[in-house]
């Protein structure tokens, strides 16, 4: 097992946002003041009991936390191996883990007094979660979404519009999540005085990777307690999908000091890592600089970011949160890949065996957990982060099945 002794996981990032060689703040000068402002506000409220109380209350009464830890007994029997538990982030308000973070950042926005929020989105879950908190606080909300994602996530686009958000399809570049993030950055540079940028994942310039992680850590804290309550001990393995990596870091982080707990971050293998058509920078990328931070990226020999592929829009991103890059290098987390086909099989399997329809993103984690469970002992415990529900994906699945809905 890959574990590291004597690493102080609470000491990263450093004051300038570095996780080892990763992270940092690589942005144009116009944004530096906004990031400084955000950092100082965050430092102030992080340990403010009033802020924490408001955050916890919103998570309890608005999001519906704690989310259950569910023993997937039939799936476990069918797979034949370790016991598989699902952390049910799909049961959160708006249907995914994303809302944990948007609740936190909306509170920060409230502290800054800014009246307009912007967000980027891939699968649309973060866009929906942002539009939701904006509606609740009466803030103007603009969501940038790659034009290709607008097509394949039509249901979420309409949800955002119903919530009062403006959805801007981004036609530049590969027309997916990375381009949506470029466009959101451009909006922020232009409207920096009155706009709060709600980044949806643990990437971007410091302090975003840190504050998004902190907001998402509620997943791992609950899971740790729930697992002990239900089984009397800690799990042997954690499994979560990794696009930008916010649900994974949220589950992993509270367990990092627990050396007996193995961790697996599952990237999108697309058509197969060996084909180059995937979104798995930790499996097949190299460190570089994009979207304000240094991290593993998918790029060509000229340093141009290359187009990624995944059946799941939420994983279709050429970078990854900088903390994951660091956790890979120090060997604390194993980063693996699951192909489109394997994820689709897991989607169907969990739906039919447990009556739980996972998001295509989360299906990657389920697929890897099934593989892993077969290699482990029947007494072993795996906790899978079921980061979102699959309702948003039914049009994609239907299309693959050749069915017009």
């Amino acid at each position: 097992m890959n574990t590291k002794k004597n690493v102080d996981y609470a000491a990263v990032p450093d004051v300038r946002g570095h996780f080892g060689p990763y992270g940092g703040r690589f942005v144009s000068e116009t944004l530096m003041y906004a990031l400084d402002e955000l950092q100082s506000i965050y430092e102030r409220v992080k340990n403010d009991p009033d802020f924490q109380k408001e955050f916890d209350q919103d998570l309890a009464h608005y999001v519906g936390r704690p989310s259950p830890l569910y023993f997937a007994e039939r799936l476990t029997k069918k797979v034949g191996g370790a016991q598989i538990y699902l952390k049910r982030e799909d049961l959160n308000h708006t249907g995914a883990h994303k809302v944990n973070n948007t609740i936190g950042q909306a509170l920060l926005a409230k502290y800054t007094g800014k009246k307009r929020v912007i967000a980027e989105t891939g699968a649309g879950q973060h866009g929906v979660a942002s539009a939701t908190v904006a509606a609740r606080l009466g803030l103007e909300c603009v969501v940038y979404m790659g034009a290709e994602d607008v097509q394949r996530q039509a249901l979420n686009v309409y949800r955002m519009k119903l919530l009062g958000a403006t959805v801007v399809p981004v036609e530049s570049g590969s027309r997916t999540l990375k381009d949506a993030m470029n466009e959101a950055m451009r909006d922020w540079v232009t409207n920096v005085d009155d706009t709060f940028y709600i980044i949806g994942t643990v990437a971007g310039p410091h302090p975003y990777p840190q504050l998004v992680r902190d907001f998402q850590c509620v997943i791992g804290r609950e899971a740790r307690q729930q697992c002990q309550d239900m089984t009397g001990r800690l799990p042997d393995a954690l499994v979560a999908c990794v696009g930008g990596g916010s649900n994974a870091i949220g589950l992993f982080h509270p367990f990092l000091q627990d050396e007996s707990v193995a961790m697996y971050g599952v990237e999108a293998g697309g058509y197969g890592v060996e084909t180059g058509k995937h979104a798995a920078p930790l499996n097949d990328g190299i460190p570089g600089v994009l979207h304000g931070n240094r991290t593993y990226l998918m790029e060509d020999e000229n340093g141009q970011i290359i187009e990624t592929h995944s059946v799941s829009a939420g994983l279709d991103y050429p970078g990854v949160g900088p903390e994951h890059s660091w956790l890979k290098d120090i060997g604390r987390v194993n980063y693996v890949a699951i192909n489109d086909d394997e994820a689709m099989d897991a989607f169907r399997n969990l739906t039919r065996v447990e009556g739980i329809m996972p998001a295509l993103e989360s299906s990657h984690a389920v697929a890897y957990a099934e593989k892993l469970a077969r290699e482990m002992d029947k007494d072993d415990i795996i906790v899978v982060n079921l980061s979102g529900r699959g309702d948003k994906d039914i049009l994609t699945v239907a299309k693959i099945d050749g069915i017009e809905v």
């Binding site: 940092g24 906004a34 530049s172 470029n182 540079v189 000229n302 340093g303 141009q304």
Partner: protein
């Protein structure tokens, strides 16, 4: 700096002649690789003092739609950092006087390696580098590599730059300071001359370097209005826009387009008393 640097030499000469500097930006390889060399000479022939070459990047976050499209046109011909430097080599065969600044994003430079980049760029005849997303805090050995190869690191300052940041940036900047006249991406919005005036005065308290102002310079009038406040102006989107509109035209037609814009902006600057 021990050796002569074309940027410093040119800016000093302009100052002595009481003239304003005109920096003209195009994206290398836009709209086609064979246009760039002719376009660069056209810029110089019509009053450009410093050529600024955009290094095409897949994710040009600080650029507005006009310059983004320029990057996309160049990338469709596989023009990248190494081909940018090769273009400078070609240009220098005919013009060894005009200063050249390359402007781009960190990732292609980091991929090439700071040391390899600095040596190759300097040997090609590059005089200065603007890296949009590499602030003083993240420089590591980049400045040292540029200095060792007689190139300036040119930094952007923004309307949002605090006094403390201006000081921090001035401590590592050389060549000139590039003041971004408005909050926004390239090619955006409306110039507020009064706020530019105020900020330039603030910058001058921290540095004796020439201040050039960019973003929002579109024609002779805006060039004149802003030129009065600083040592010169940077013009980009209006040129890239003209090149994009005539992307399918011959090199001659494209050069004719940018000639008209540059000559007009030059006349605006030269009308300053």
């Amino acid at each position: 700096m021990s050796q002569e640097n074309r940027i410093s030499t040119r800016l000093a000469a302009l100052k002595a002649a009481n003239k304003k500097a005109l920096v003209s930006y195009i994206v290398v390889g836009d709209p086609r690789p064979e246009v760039s060399l002719a376009a660069m000479h056209t810029l110089v022939e019509n009053g450009t003092d410093i050529i600024e070459l955009g290094i095409p990047f897949s994710d040009p976050m600080a650029e507005g739609p006009v310059i983004q499209k320029g990057h996309e046109r160049a990338l469709s011909h596989n023009v990248s950092l190494r081909s940018t430097l090769a273009t400078v080599v070609e240009f220098r065969k005919q013009d060894n006087e005009t200063p050249i600044v390359v402007m781009g994003y960190t990732n292609p430079i980091e991929r090439m390696g700071y040391s390899d980049f600095a040596k190759t760029a300097s040997a090609a005849g590059v005089d200065g580098v603007i890296t949009v997303d590499l602030p003083p805090e993240e420089l590591e050995n980049f400045n040292a590599e540029l200095k060792a190869n007689n190139m300036h690191n040119i930094f952007l300052l923004a309307p949002t730059s605090s006094n403390a940041r201006i000081e921090k940036i001035c401590a590592v900047a050389s060549g000139f300071l590039y003041y971004v006249s408005l909050k926004g991406v390239t090619g955006a919005g409306h110039l507020d001359v009064d706020s530019v005036k105020e900020k330039v005065a603030e910058i001058r308290q921290h540095s004796a370097l020439p201040v050039l102002v960019g973003f929002g310079i579109k024609n002779a009038e805006t060039a004149r209005a802003v030129g009065e406040l600083a040592e010169g102006v940077v013009v980009g989107s209006v040129l890239v826009s003209a090149m994009g509109e005539h992307a399918d035209a011959t090199t001659e037609v494209i050069c004719e387009q940018i000639k008209n814009h540059v000559a007009s902006i030059r006349s605006g600057l030269d009308s300053i008393e």
